[in-house]
């Protein structure tokens, strides 16, 4: 019967083309607006690294003295001090861990062949590549010895490699950052993540860096960070030495804890670490505290999806509801006009359920058409969003989930709008119309 109902629905569509097109347009506009905001919300809130998001953790340590508060919801800084980051990196546990710090340089090849340009760089430890599943196109990461010795080596991404070396294997070639030469040891595939979850201090939706360098180079060359540095007490940080010995927080730190036990063990380790630090006059507080957030928790903690976005999604659904109210009125008129035919069908053996089902199939078909057209409207809306800010480039898009969700939401919405008209028409008394036709 379903195909028969589809056939009847299509005939009904053709019988009243103007009303049907009006309804499809109303659904399409409602769905288009809804899907535009929902797609942005979806991309902002989706898990950026599903296979490891529950294994990668960002620790927080309550470094402040007793009586000092931080402005975060858990009263802890979101970054670590240099001392803590380096100590935790040197610790035996866990197996994989990495400090992370953003910086940037003027990039050139030292031979005048290209005009120098600014590029962002990230100082990390070698584990970072495997922890965040960065794929090498050429070469590999630097060795542990190179890292310990602060050897001037680096890894670039394919975007920079394309720009500087036309996509050829650049491993072994030199790259100048400001006035220093560095040896390229690897080229990774460009890191395309729509959320910069590994460093939420510098814009959650900014582009990833093009250059990756061993973290020990920071101290060796006294590189400054391109990001936030926060403190909780007055300290002089006029020199680099003062800064790395201070209680200022300016480094991100990630650990990979594959199991629940590993997380528990690491928590105990952090407590023990803070107790040790108390012996040298740090962590002056009665109760030591720390936090371990995995990737999704970290995004939530840092309000990656702002309240504004949630309000926008809610408003767009309200707009869809207004469109549905209009559709409901049109459906009522359309269905009740057909009451005489329904009377005949009832007399010929159709049950109320069958009549109801037939009309729900019809509204579903309208929803499908509206949903498909709504995808086009949403594409227009997303294009409009993309041209407002650069960082929307990766966010204002519809992935396969949203493409499938559009007709599904449209069909469900139309079913909701069509329930009352369908119920009303299936309850009409056939006898009234049979005599009067």
């Amino acid at each position: 019967m379903f195909t028969h109902y589809l056939d009847l629905s299509w005939r009904s569509f053709k019988r009243t083309p103007l009303v049907s097109i009006l309804m499809v347009l109303a659904i399409a506009i409602g769905i288009g607006v809804t899907m535009t905001s929902l797609s942005v919300y979806h991309m902002m809130s989706m898990d950026p690294i599903p296979s490891k998001s529950q294994q990668l953790f960002h620790p927080q340590l309550k470094t402040m003295d007793e009586g000092i508060n931080w402005w975060t919801s858990n009263d802890m800084p979101t970054q670590l001090t240099y001392q803590d980051a380096v100590n935790l990196q040197k610790a035996e546990v866990p197996a994989k861990k990495s400090i992370s710090m953003r910086s940037g340089f003027s990039v050139h090849l030292g031979d005048g062949s290209i005009k120098p340009f600014m590029s962002q760089a990230r100082f990390i430890n070698a584990d970072f590549f495997s922890m965040f599943q960065l794929e090498f196109v050429f070469g590999d990461s630097w060795s542990l010895a190179q890292e310990h010795n602060a050897t001037p080596v680096l890894v670039i991404d394919s975007q920079l490699n394309d720009k500087l070396f036309a996509g050829t294997n650049s491993v072994g070639k030199q790259l100048y950052l400001d006035d220093k030469a560095f040896l390229i040891v690897g080229v990774i595939k460009q890191w395309t993540t729509h959320i910069k979850y590994y460093d939420l201090n510098n814009g959650a939706f900014n582009e990833t860096e093009n250059i990756y360098m061993p973290f020990p180079l920071v101290e060796a060359n006294q590189y400054e960070n391109w990001g936030n540095t926060n403190g909780w007490k007055h300290e002089s940080i006029r020199t680099f030495e003062e800064k790395i010995r201070s209680e200022h927080v300016w480094l991100q730190f990630w650990v990979e804890l594959p199991t629940r036990d590993a997380k528990k063990d690491y928590g105990e380790f952090l407590l023990a670490y803070m107790q040790e630090q108390q012996k040298i006059g740090r962590f002056n507080r009665k109760e030591l505290d720390f936090a371990l957030h995995n990737v999704t928790e970290w995004m939530e903690f840092n309000n990656v999806v702002s309240e504004d976005n949630k309000v926008m999604v809610a408003l767009s659904f309200m707009f869809l509801a207004v469109c549905l109210a209009n559709i409901l009125g049109l459906l009522l008129a359309k269905f009740l006009r057909r009451a005489p035919e329904i009377g005949v069908r009832r007399a010929l053996g159709a049950s109320k359920t069958q009549v109801f089902y037939q009309h729900l199939v019809e509204v579903s078909l309208l929803g499908l058409f509206g949903g498909l057209l709504g995808i086009l409207v949403a594409q227009l809306g997303l294009w409009g969003v993309r041209i407002t800010r650069d960082y929307y480039e990766n966010l204002a898009t519809m992935d396969i989930t949203m493409l499938l969700a559009a007709p599904a939401i449209a069909i469900v919405a139309c079913l909701v709008a069509g329930l009352y008209p369908a119920w009303l028409v299936c309850r009409t008394n056939p006898a009234v119309y049979l005599k009067s036709q």
Binding site: V344, L348, G349, L434
Partner: protein, 238 residues
Amino acid sequence: MLTMNNIGKIYQTEMVQTHALRDFNLQVNEGEFIAVTGPSGSGKTTFLNIAGMLEPFSTGQYLLDGVDVGKLNDNQRADLRNQKIGFIFQGFNLIPDLNLYENVEVPLRYRGIKASERKRRIEQCLEQVGLASRAKHLPQQLSGGQQQRVAIARALAGEPRFLLADEPTGNLDSLMARQVMELLEQINRDGATIVMVTHDAELARRAPRNIQVVDGKLADFTLYQGAPTANAHVLEGV
């Protein structure tokens, strides 16, 4: 075949209570052809709607082929209607968007009959009413008489044992009315039980058994001609 015991039907509005049928008793046997007459507003159509399970009754008991209709839910009534009853209306009530083939197909669709069997029955019924060659035509391309013949074909397609006809010749000229009547008589001879509401006294006289409805009650019956002996009896008119 059909038994109505003390059927009552009351239409209730805020101001008025109207008794459309009261203490209505009727027994219709297999193979009968009954004409129901009566003045306008007497309750003929209400009786027909209740007989066809298109309207619920207020009081009494209605048995169709031994099934107590009052105890059925809507889906069961729809099934029973689809299986046992064929309708023929004064206004033909063909669905304008469907061609003749598709119109006749409607009751068969609801019965869930397979496409090949539907095709066989539709072609047979359209053949029976002499419209097989016009199966792809739309109703508005036919004359009134032809449309009524399509409606009869549609009523016959489900092979019902019970045909309910409400003024089947009311919208037709005398020639077409006679043709339709002859068709109904043929269908009755083939075994179907027919109850026909009509205003036309001449048509009513052609039916073997007449009943008259006045003020919602069964008032009278007359056996005019050649009724089967099995039918030449009965009627508890009030």
